[in-house]
Symmetry: C2
Subunit: 425 residues, 2 copies
């Protein structure tokens, strides 16, 4: 059935049918939260052995005789840097190992830049209104940081090869009030788009009008592949080295979606200049991060190969869930093109664009029958999706059965909202 | 022997003797770092069982069915709040549980206030030059935070009952550019002074000229007693409640000197208003702190009594070390009053005032024979001790034997520096 071809009375009939189906959904007494990209219990349990690795009988000395049970070492354990260097795509000297949250490190870095400037620049907060570029749809917590610091967010359209790089070049190279850009370069949140080689290259060739411009390269899903042959993201640091622009990118990742969400380890990769500056800032803030947890992670993974083999176990759990989402959408809307959606090869989300003006209504309809989705608009700065069409689906947390139910609910709500919309015109 | 009563030739003779002793010290090939208040291996090992408490077979649900292995809960586990409420001297609703570092939370709070203001005030960074009061000698890392944020530090003299409260009242109540004061109210760093009841009461009765003034109450040594009957610090929050000034204090503590330095848990206690504001700020910065480590700590201590009984084990290790420091100083300078020093009943330091103009020289002499002390001046803002007399001794880390050697070295260096000084006049 294709709504486009239906007359008003047929549409009304279809709407009545959907309303009936929707009423029946209420009987399910659903209570399912799919708002966030939260790993499932099954995924989290993959890492339980990590909890035994450092115990009361352990020798807690790390490389270079670092005593992990006591104070010291601001920038993290060398062995952990070694394991994560290929994830960040930088060398060991270009890594700062932090605490339990990469988001927190992004906030810190921006906060440092706000109050103290970037490698000698005027503090951002003392300059005229500064701006960040925000590829959209994107990650709501990135945008929230900008709001917190009163940094103006400029939306940038996402394409299948990454954010609109023509516009980015034009803005960054001509407007010195633009100080940064948020990027989730591999399996982007929420669309699952991996930036093309050309996009990465052009990022590395940027000649920013502002000396204190930085690329916030949140490689959150660097090794979070859903297929056996991962999509390849060009190494931005290597490209920047070629173009003498090593100070541009600040790269982030964490083990929150590898070991334990909120109890893992976060990493920052950047040029020696940037690392030196960021380390100096952190030296005022703390004596050091939790080295015992760093040691646990280093000993658990052993090496990069160990890390990747651990990720394969996540894939085995996640892939069937993404298949349910994508296949349900394909089946339900095969001949009724009222939505478009992505088929990500990794990451944590499926991005769905419903009919313009319907996203809020769909999320609301779902909520009323017990299915909590990410707030409509959340994937845009200040929560404003001017088309009101994008919805982020997070398939990881529910069980297979719950997810099947959730997707049925979602499809009914999408159709009902669409019918309401076309009938009101 | 009392230098005061000696003539020049006797002093010269004494100096030659000390020089000879000093030369002999070089032969010891000492390599001892006593710069920081760092718990010893023996102390750290007291908590090793903590590492086994949460393991691969554990049920990791905390109170209120909080899953510690996954995202969620910004302000920390309820059971841990319960254990530490009496340490902070606040109720459970007045606690925010953080990460591994209370210093980091102090930095964060000041950073939040700099960029976003205090409960609705103009951001500190947008106001004219703001100032903090700094009881001196004090904690170098407190002062470093001020330097980082370009906040002017105003030294306040410490007395045996706490910082000079007359001056504090006068300044805070008349100068709206004063926004805060650093306090280590129990067993202060480095003197080990516990604020008197009157001092605490007068803090609670402050009527600051600035609405956005806060007392940074770093109760780092709240339960770090060296005697069986601890010194009693009056509860500032209770006093503030009586005086309708609950929003004044922000209280900090951590388990860095209870369990593992740098791998423990930090706490913040404050009024409901302040907690609400600080929690809101943190909600932009992170999804949450490491709840697995919080769970370890809660299950390890079980309750407040468990915590205190754990501290008794620390006391048993620390007390003999403090005795060595204090007794050596008493014996060596019994009839030669060229120094004064504190005899703390808790905390991590002994504060020594050597002859004016000699502190740098003493620290330097010690360094040249392999004994690293806290940099002279470090206990004052910007590293400037205008008398050049205060030296902080940190007895915790060395073994008993090492400490005995270190104290011999220290005493020789103090005497040598003093002799140099009196002879140059």
């Amino acid at each position: 059935m294709n709504y486009i071809n239906l007359g008003r009375s047929e549409l009304n009939k279809e709407k009545d049918k959907m309303l009936k189906e929707y009423e029946e959904l209420k009987g399910l007494n659903l209570k399912l939260n799919m708002a966030r990209g939260k790993p499932s219990k099954e995924q989290v349990n993959l890492s339980r052995e990590l909890l035994d690795i450092v115990n009361s009988r352990s020798d807690c000395s790390a490389q270079d005789e670092i005593d992990c049970l006591n104070y010291g070492i601001l920038d993290g354990l060398p062995e952990l840097k070694e394991i994560f260097a290929p994830v960040l795509g930088v060398n060991k000297e270009q890594i700062f190992v932090g605490g339990n949250s990469s988001l927190s490190m992004m906030f810190d870095v921006i906060s440092f830049f706000m109050t103290s400037g970037v490698c000698g620049s005027e503090p951002w907060i003392k300059q005229e209104q500064i701006k960040f570029l925000c590829p959209c749809p994107g990650y709501d917590r990135h945008f929230a940081i900008l709001k917190h610091f009163n940094i103006k967010a400029i939306p940038i359209i996402m394409t299948s090869t990454g954010p609109d790089i023509d516009t980015i070049e034009n803005l960054v190279e001509n407007d010195a009030s633009i100080k940064g850009i948020w990027c989730v370069p591999k399996y982007s949140n929420p669309q699952g788009i991996t930036y093309s080689d050309e996009t990465v290259r052009r990022f590395s060739k940027l000649k920013p009008a502002a000396k204190d411009f930085r690329i916030f390269w949140d490689n959150a899903y660097a090794i979070h592949d859903l297929t056996e042959v991962p999509e390849k993201l060009l190494n931005i640091m290597t490209e920047c080295e070629k173009n003498n622009s090593k100070d541009l990118p600040i790269i982030f990742c964490s083990t929150s979606k590898i070991t334990f969400p909120g109890a893992g380890v976060a990493f920052l990769g950047a040029s020696e200049n940037n690392i030196k500056e960021i380390k100096k800032m952190y030296s005022f803030k703390t004596i050091g991060f939790d080295k015992i947890n760093q040691l646990r992670h280093a000993r658990y993974f052993k090496n990069y190969e160990g890390l990747i083999s651990h990720m394969n176990k996540h894939r085995a759990i996640l892939k069937p869930k993404f298949d349910i989402v994508v296949n349900t959408l394909k089946n339900e809307f095969a001949d009724n093109k009222i939505i478009s959606f992505t088929e990500p090869k990794g990451g944590y989300f499926v991005s769905v664009d419903v009919m313009n003006g319907c996203a809020k209504r769909v999320v609301d309809l779902c909520k009323k029958v017990g299915l909590i989705l990410t707030e409509a608009g959340a994937t845009f700065p200040n929560g404003i999706d001017k088309n009101d069409s994008n919805i982020r689906i997070a398939p990881s947390y529910p069980s297979i059965e719950e997810l099947k139910t959730a997707m049925s609910v979602f499809c009914v709500c999408v159709k009902l909202a669409a019918l309401e919309k076309v009938l009101e015109i």
